[in-house]
Symmetry: C2
Subunit: 193 residues, 2 copies
């Protein structure tokens, strides 16, 4: 459904006295066009309430053990979308290579272009990178490696995913390794006891 | 309480068989030291679950009507902390002026330094800027204006706040103006009818 159609449906239903809910995955103001919809309603004189959500920009990395910020590792994080590669390139051109954590939403299909664009802009090919698919679901799938390896990662089909690039990915790797080691020990204990 | 003490308390209580909850405002992985605590627990072999939250980085602007992303206005958003101005400066030096939306958490007390640092790095003094204090509470307080005006904003004392810098602030201003106009019309209707 085109955005213009959604806007028209919202306004029409509200004018008919309906309470309209635009229920979105994640946060409506993080690449969710919530701002456009709120403006459309404002122009039509229709009041609306914005309810913030848990954004995959932060939550998907977190559920893979990756903190978008980590003291001494990064001063902050930049969130871009991979949906429109022109906008992505503008965002990447605005930031110095390897200077902040980078989260790319809707960038799974374009992971090769994302990696190429970063390396072309001077990001080290050895920069840690991660893919987190279907975070919080039973199908959650995580890969981590380097920017050089990102283009050839074979991700599960049909799942939404977030890319994370930066040293913070290593925190997730340490946590995952400890978790595996702990689970392994528990299994061993179980066998012996 | 120092972070080291918190870490020690967590590990000690967990080893005594307690279930330990570190309940934080916002998201534990956005300047919340959640990564450090998770690593500490991992080193001690103690399993932990990370529960993502609604981060003020996104939600505080949203509750003031400001979308951190807006199609055609910004390719994305950068989140920095104003708690440590050295880290803030490193983050700002890494990004081209006026290229993305900027959210500064824990930057209220340092708003003058934040504004000076941005202008010194080439951000236009006319860049829209906003302060959102105590978002989501009955004390929520919002100001918006320009980067030039930010240092002299008189904010309510004792409330936490988030700074937002970038053209997206104007979306919040349009929404707020429409809301005021609508409320005014409703009052007029009330008087006449």
């Amino acid at each position: 459904v085109r955005q213009e159609t959604i806007n028209r449906l919202m306004v029409r239903a509200a004018r008919r006295g309906k309470r309209v809910v635009r229920l979105k995955g994640g946060d409506p103001f993080v690449f969710g066009r919530g701002g456009e919809e709120a403006l459309e309603l404002a122009m039509a004189g229709i009041p609306c309430e914005i309810v913030p959500g848990v954004s995959a920009a932060i939550a998907a990395p977190a559920l893979a053990g990756i903190p978008v910020t980590h003291r001494g590792v990064t001063p902050g994080f930049l969130v871009l979308s991979g949906h429109n590669m022109d906008a992505f390139d503008r965002g990447i051109q605005a930031v110095q290579p390897n200077a902040v954590s980078l989260v790319v939403m809707m960038g799974l299909a374009e992971r090769a272009s994302v990696a190429d664009s970063l390396v072309a802009r001077g990001w080290s090919e050895r920069t840690p990178a991660a893919v987190v698919c279907a975070a919080s679901t039973s199908e959650q799938w995580t890969w981590s490696g380097s920017l050089a390896e990102l283009p050839s990662v074979d991700t599960p089909g049909g799942l939404p995913g977030v890319l994370v690039v930066g040293e913070v990915v290593r925190v997730g790797e340490v946590l995952a390794a400890q978790e595996r080691s702990r689970s392994h020990n528990e299994v061993s204990y179980g066998r012996n006891g």
